[in-house]
């Protein structure tokens, strides 16, 4: 009963000193807004990274042509690829490997009905869609037979489909890739951005043999720039990595002590590192914002202390007419709580509005989650109690007669 009335009392006290209440809440508002905004940006980044990792394909290795130097993996792009289609086939036959796709990347101009579009061209095999966990939007992917025969068939990404065909159905249409005519037999489903920020849907995939002969006119037959391979499970990644290393050293006749002419990279591990970096970043952002929340709490404590001093006489009067110490304690605690919760509510609105603006204006992905809102409210509540308690206890500890005599 009294508690409910004390909320009214608090409300009255706060509304009679509007400007002061507002200034007291300001720190809280900024703190909560900062926390919400920072968490939104951090979580948005995390969600984006998570999406990119999922779209990359799971348990993925990339085996590149070229030696590993002491400074890390460095691929000599100018030199001839050392990996062969047969290497890819051998890797696929390893027990821990599900699929292995030899890759020949490049870029080319596509032409269809007077429209042209520059994009990435990948020569590969049907294993490509397996390692990338890539679904078809329409049509189908090319077959092993197409690879063997060097068929002029192409599978295009969503961006290429949109740019060259618009609303038209691309299936069965002939496009020119560096002048060579190819029939579009499938359109890949959308994947969005990759970890490095590229649009994964801006590509065309053709049989690797056709890419070599008809597009890149390479003299080196059966060579792959890199191989993408998928392990059976996350647990088998380590075993698979050493198996690939051993296999390729054997196949390439690399003796003990000689440098490898290939590099195996665990893409999934690299992606996990990126993910944990983002996690750490978003935690850091949140922590910095949380400091401003604490500063906001200290602001409330300051003003509440001033308020207790200023209102000593009021406290004395209240005690004289029957307020118990705990009534006075509650009165000031509730005032501090009301301040911090109203500050929190305004801060929430500002933070969510700010997140929306960041998404709109800066194009950053943001995610305001119920968990972060709950956390901000919970923390504000705790801060209100924590920083409100000391001034409230001071007020409650006053001696009635001393308080009455003040001023």
């Amino acid at each position: 009963m009294i508690i409910a009335s004390l909320f009214e009392t608090a409300w009255h006290a706060l509304t009679t000193h509007r400007m002061r209440s507002f200034l007291t809440m300001l720190g809280m508002m900024i703190g909560v807004a900062a926390v919400i905004l920072m968490l939104a940006i951090g979580q948005g980044a995390q969600a984006m990274v998570r999406g990119a990792i999922e779209s990359m394909g799971s348990n993925l290795f990339i085996i590149m042509s070229g030696a590993t130097t002491s400074g890390g993996a460095r691929v000599a792009m100018g030199s001839a690829p050392t990996l062969t289609f047969a290497d890819a086939d051998a890797i696929r036959d390893l027990p821990d490997i599900v699929a292995a796709a030899p890759m020949l990347p490049g870029s080319a101009q596509l032409i269809y009905a007077g429209l042209n579009w520059s994009t990435s061209v990948f020569g590969s095999t049907p294993d490509y869609v397996i390692v990338r966990n890539w679904l078809m939007a329409s049509g189908g992917f090319f077959s092993e037979a197409d690879v063997r025969s060097g068929a002029r068939v192409a599978v295009i990404g969503q961006v290429v489909a949109r740019e060259l065909f618009g609303d038209e159905d691309p299936i069965g249409k002939i496009i020119r890739i560096r002048q060579a005519p190819f029939e579009v037999i499938g359109v890949l489903a959308a994947k969005g951005q990759s970890l490095d920020g590229r649009d994964q849907d801006d590509l065309v995939v053709v049989p690797i043999s056709s890419a070599q002969q008809k597009i890149f006119s390479s003299s080196l037959r059966n060579r792959a720039r890199f191989i993408m391979a998928q392990a059976v499970s996350e647990k088998s990644m380590d075993a698979a990595e050493s198996a690939i290393n051993e296999l390729l050293r054997n196949r390439h006749r690399i003796g003990v002590g000689q440098d490898d002419d290939f590099t195996v990279r665990n893409l999934t591990a690299i992606a996990e590192t990126a993910a944990s970096t983002t996690r750490v970043m978003s935690l850091l952002l949140g922590a910095i914002a949380a400091i401003s929340l604490v500063v906001g709490g200290i602001g409330i404590m300051n003003i509440m202390l001033v308020s207790v001093t200023e209102r000593t006489r009021e406290i004395g009067i209240r005690m004289a007419i029957g307020a118990r110490r705990r009534d006075v304690l509650w009165q000031f605690l509730i005032e501090a709580l009301t301040l911090s919760l109203i500050g929190c509510a305004i801060g929430l609105a500002l933070g969510i509005g700010g997140a929306w603006l960041v998404e709109r204006l800066a194009g950053l992905p943001v995610a305001v989650t119920p968990a972060s809102v709950l956390m901000a409210v919970g923390v504000s509540f705790l801060i209100g109690v924590f920083f409100g308690f000391y001034p409230a206890r001071r007020a409650a500890g006053l001696d009635p007669i001393d308080a009455l005599r003040s001023q």
Binding site: S5, R313, M319, A320, I321, R325
Partner: protein, 238 residues
């Protein structure tokens, strides 16, 4: 109200109060023993600094004595917790101060309703009771004015209404007419006499003005922290 029981409502024995000062302690009360029965109307008189307010604050349970005993309605006040004292101030005792001591931001109604809030009464009930009490002191029309919008006499009537709100048995008034002109003083004193006569509320009033003290049947004079005179007149002064 237990006048017939024989036990006094207020009984103090050898009451002393020391104030710590820069040069040792100052003895504001030096052994006061007296009792006041329920329904009495007592004026406490004496020169400034004689210890009247100190005594009043002790009786009103706002302060604790340094030595001596104080029984209120037979109960030893010195053994009570601060919560019990608060409850006593809330339900049994009403205060009227010289400076009114109203909360300036609250309306007259909210000021009067305040003790009822601490008594645990619900919002509507206390507003009704506060309004009724304001009606009794003749300020029913001004219930939504804040103290600053009221004259001194009106403010003091609001303060009296606040003291009466929880229907206490005793009212302590420390120089209640000290800030009022003589006409308003007469009205306030008339109201006090009426309360004492018609509702048998025990009244203890501090004043240094003889004509104000004349409203009371019993007059106790303080000097240097001691009672030097305690007379009761049977004839009603009004």
């Amino acid at each position: 109200m237990n006048t017939e029981s024989g036990k006094p409502l207020i009984e103090v024995v050898d009451l002393e109060k020391d104030y710590p000062t820069g040069a040792g302690v100052f003895q504001a009360l030096r052994g006061v023993s007296l009792s006041i029965a329920a329904g009495e109307f007592v004026a406490i008189m004496g020169a400034s600094g004689s210890g009247k307010s100190t005594f009043m604050n002790l009786l009103g349970c706002l302060d604790r004595p340094t030595r001596g005993s104080y029984h209120l309605d037979g109960k030893d006040v010195s053994k009570m917790s601060s919560d019990q004292l608060a409850a006593l101030r809330n339900r049994e005792i009403g205060f009227v101060f010289q400076g009114f001591n109203l909360l300036p931001k609250l309306t007259a109604l909210d000021n009067v309703a305040l003790p009822l809030m601490y008594a645990g009464m619900g919002r509507e009930a206390r507003r009704q009771q506060a309004q009724a009490t304001l009606d009794r002191v003749g300020l029913g029309e001004r219930s939504h004015h804040t103290p600053l919008q009221l004259s001194g006499g009106q403010q003091q009537r609001v303060a009296i209404a606040r003291a009466l709100a929880t229907r206490p048995r005793i009212i302590f008034a420390d120089e209640p007419t000290g800030n009022l002109d003589s006409e308003t003083s007469r009205q306030v004193m008339g109201f006090f006499s009426q309360l004492n006569r018609e509702e048998a509320i025990t009244l203890v009033l501090v004043t240094h003005e003889a004509d104000i003290a004349d409203y009371a049947r019993r007059r106790i004079r303080f000097q240097d922290g001691r009672v030097v005179e305690d007379v009761t007149t049977e004839a009603d002064a009004t």
